[in-house]
Symmetry: C2
Subunit: 586 residues, 2 copies
């Protein structure tokens, strides 16, 4: 590749819409270009790196015994109707009609199609286990495409699907994929954490995510010193034992004007309702927050979430808990329809089917900490008034429990392995034990060893290939640009000819020839009217691991060899350049 003809323009400025480093650098270095929100074009350098990432994924899938196939992206509605995903995906699914008015979709994942294909071809337990995979373009109409390749609407995924007769078989297939994922991310040089996860719209019994830890990650996860790790959506709250409330005084309604916040309420309580044992604190209050669930069929339902007043509702945990519905903040119109919801003073008495005895009541879901016998200060459903000493299980009953309160550093791990710490990461892989959900919906059965029809059990395993590339860019850069690991870089060596001396260009040509003869992929900056400063800056931005500068030293028969990652530089005689660069590359 020669910079004089390579289809590339580097940018000095960050693109306006870019928030994260990988996005800024991949665009500035001319690896990708935005075509529409969340939809990117791959330019020559980007495509080279992508091909290398794909090759590693493909090799490890094959090594794990998975067979490659390739499904269409444009698929008919019917199979997705049978599993409810046509509806459950809601606005995240790109839907369209063909010229005969038949419904189609752009597939977000392919569980249905793989299930039907295996049903079509296979019929006996002897055919199993089977794992298939594809590296294919996927579509998801994200509400907020962002961060370049990290959350796109058209992206490349490796998706694999396993088919087994027994639960043990699924466990083994799952383990094989999990091991392959570890090898893939290790080979990519991408740090990862495996965390327990929720299954979302995919369904199934168990799932784990592979997260690449980085402060800009969209996913928050927790870890304990004792080895617990989970996506924050999957963290469960240790449930306290119920308390005996025999003899607890009846609740009292008190005036609390001027206490618009939990803090001001607590301060007022400590002032007007002092406790003998200790001060009031925010955890004594029960905060009831109104949300609108938008169900996949478009229906809008209000729900009230009760959490201890010292915690916020975590929207992602709430969404995961109530999927496939999407969650919105309740708005003025919602409150107008339910005038008994007094903003800031909502209490359980007017909420929920079980409290109110009304089938049409707004559903009331509470945090797992709200066990029977716990006592709460909460809204009195009148402005400027609260109730003190409201006892769960006596004075109110929720319609259900929901894991929606924020998880905080120091919270106990659910398995008792110690306090949790929080971190953020990019979801680069997600593996699911789907179980029999899809096989049942689509009738995938095989004859077992006794000649009886049994439903197949499945796993599904995804790697965001383009997202993994972005995660790599996020992990491999410095203030001057990208710093690719050698096996993923768009070239092995970047030769920079500087100055205007034709002898320099001639010597550079020779050197490039020698490198190429030695099997090295060369990016050659042969531009004539570009200053050395611009060339150096471009080389740093593009991130090829070794930079060879041919210039003034030529008179002494030397070139400068620079390691991009460390900045380490050495002068090397022309005759040694290939050996040094190869050695450096080995």
């Amino acid at each position: 590749m020669r910079m004089s003809t390579l289809f590339l323009r580097t940018l000095r400025e960050d693109p306006a819409e870019a928030e994260v480093t990988s996005h800024k650098l991949l665009v500035r270095a001319g690896y990708i270009r935005r075509a529409a929100p969340g939809i990117y074009t791959w330019l020559p350098l980007g495509l080279r790196v992508l091909a290398k990432v794909e090759a590693i994924v493909r090799e490890e899938m094959q090594a794990a015994g998975a067979q490659e196939v390739h499904f269409p992206a444009l698929l008919p509605r019917e199979p997705y109707e049978l599993t409810d995903r046509w509806t459950e995906y809601g606005p995240n699914l790109f839907r369209l009609k063909d010229r005969r008015d038949n419904d189609y979709l752009l597939a977000p994942t392919h569980e249905e199609m793989f299930t039907l294909l295996v049903k079509d071809l296979y019929s006996s337990y002897k055919d199993l286990p089977l794992t298939l995979f594809q590296i294919q373009t996927k579509y998801r109409d994200e509400a907020r495409p962002r961060a370049g390749l990290l959350r796109g609407r058209e992206f490349i995924m490796k998706d694999a699907y396993s088919f087994d007769v027994s639960d043990e078989g699924l466990e083994a297939s799952y383990r094989k994929q999990r091991d392959a994922y570890e090898r893939i991310f290790t080979r990519l040089g991408l740090e990862y954490v495996i965390v327990a996860a929720t299954s979302g719209a995919m369904g199934g019994s168990r799932s784990e995510e592979f997260l690449s830890p980085t402060p800009i990650g969209e996913d928050t996860f927790v870890r304990s010193a004792g080895g617990y790790a989970a996506n924050v959506e999957a963290v469960t709250t240790p449930v306290p034992a119920p308390l005996d409330y025999a003899g607890a005084p009846a609740p009292r309604t008190i005036d609390t004007p001027g206490t618009p916040t939990i803090d001001s309420l607590v301060a007022r309580l400590n002032e007007t309702e002092p406790r003998d044992d200790r001060s009031w604190n925010a955890a004594d209050t029960l905060k009831n927050v109104v949300f609108a669930l938008v169900h996949p069929d478009g229906e809008r339902e209000l729900v009230v979430i009760g959490v201890p007043g010292d915690r916020e509702v975590d929207m992602k945990r709430l969404e995961a808990a109530l999927a496939p519905a999407e969650i919105e903040q309740a708005g003025d119109k919602d409150f107008e329809k339910h005038p008994y919801l007094v903003r800031g003073y909502i209490g359980p008495q007017v909420l929920g089917v079980r409290n109110t005895g009304s089938e049409t009541a707004v559903r009331y879901l509470v945090d797992p900490r709200v066990v029977d016998g716990t006592r709460w200060v909460t809204g009195a459903n009148e402005a400027d008034r609260h109730v003190v000493g409201l006892v769960a299980g006596r004075d109110f009953v929720a319609d259900g429990v929901v894991e929606a309160a924020e998880v905080r550093a120091g919270d106990p791990a659910p398995d008792g392995s110690g306090p949790l710490e929080l971190a953020r990461g990019i979801e680069i892989g997600h593996i699911f034990q789907l179980g029999r959900k899809y096989a049942e919906a689509l009738g995938l059965k095989v004859l077992d060893v006794n000649g009886k029809q049994v439903t197949v059990t499945m796993g599904s395993y995804g790697i965001g290939v383009t997202r993994a590339l972005a995660a790599l860019a996020e992990a491999n850069n410095d203030e001057r640009g990208l710093v690719w690991p050698r096996h993923l870089a768009p070239a092995d060596v970047h030769v920079v000819a500087t100055g205007r001396d034709e002898a320099v260009f001639a010597a550079s040509e020779d050197l490039v020839g020698e490198f190429e003869a030695a099997g090295l992929d060369v990016l050659f900056d042969d531009r004539r009217k570009v200053s050395p400063g611009v060339k150096f800056a471009d080389a740093e931005l593009l991130g090829v691991p070794v930079i060879v500068v041919v210039g003034r030293g030529l008179a002494d028969g030397v070139v400068e060899v620079k390691v991009r990652a460390t900045g380490e530089t050495q002068l090397v005689s022309l005759g040694d350049a290939v050996a040094v660069v190869r050695g450096d590359l080995s």
Copy 2:
């Protein structure tokens, strides 16, 4: 690959919907599987062949100096609006909306996006010439998807685009791609003919198609001994010189009851209106056929096409001539709206703006042979009556000329190179000199050598990659199955272990190990409970070029090596098997 675990089921029966051999065999041999009309899934063996075809295309594109990029398939409406293609593609375009109600499309080709990308990155004549390409999934909502991969709705294309400052530059870039196409099809071993073509919705000044000749091809093309070759849509009719009609008698209307066909009309004329010089024949009559044009915006317009009575209207030529409108036969409702169109007796007098002087008249287009001074027998716009001696240019004037009459074997080539012969082929490539249509619509200009803004001129070059694979299957088969050329086959050698003797399987395993150690890709039929007959039939169906049968001969230390294409068989000692197969493969 081992047949015991390979995700494959061969079929003995042709799939119900399959009409052509390639479709039948690719499905029966488990290379592809239908997911929806015109939309296919690639199974492991098919994907291997596809990868080899793609690799050849990629190599030759790179050798021709084209740089690889990769565009999204899901694209915003706006660029396609600017070139009118959003509308002109009519129902062939898959359109959809995203969750914000923005219009998107699934791209049928990417001229707009490439133009905008180059505009985005480049600004000077010094940056050109440039040729970019991608191998990418395309979408077209075909009215009649058919013949498996030959006319699909989701398919893989290699599309390339060239950018030049001058017409000479475009010519050179076009030539480079044309040469690369010749190399690609030669390397694929795919016979091809290069024919002049029409540009259709693509626009531009010149285009050529690469056709793979086969009787099942959808495209009809013509050739002359003198070297003329064209798609039938692109054939132009040599226009005769106008005739002097001074002194020609006035037209006469005659009664012609019971002459529903041209033949019966001619017979009647010879009976009731005998000519001195010769008999009447069908070419003396002017047949006026009514069609409905469906414009891309949905508007329906009637048009009457006048052709000599000895020729049919060729719908494909008509569609090409009147693109982007689609053509339908006129129906009862159309005739009801235009009661002066007397079916079977339509004459020019009531047709066309220029004949009738009415702006709202049905448009009247005639064959190029209808030059001034020619005399015609045609309908009198009354049932059972015709007009004799109607003189073109005196008694009627058409609104325009249209190349819509069928081309027949023996017709003269337009360049005078002799009579034409007709044949059919599959369009495997199409190259266009687009000129400045897209660059003008999208504002792609660069500074020329004098510092002036000039509009770039472009070419566009497509290869139907999946279609080329189908054309290969169509060209490489016999009554027993597929017969792959060696460099495209899913494996180099197919080892078949026969019988139940464990020694045979053990020896086969060893042999497979030796083949693999020698760098050969092996498909190993290691199935235990499958009869030799089934295994042989599968091997023939799958079409791997060399089949090695391990069986009874093992006692004598020999295996049978069979060349799939010729059926030629030889007994080879185990020790020589690798050498023979490699030699055979070299």
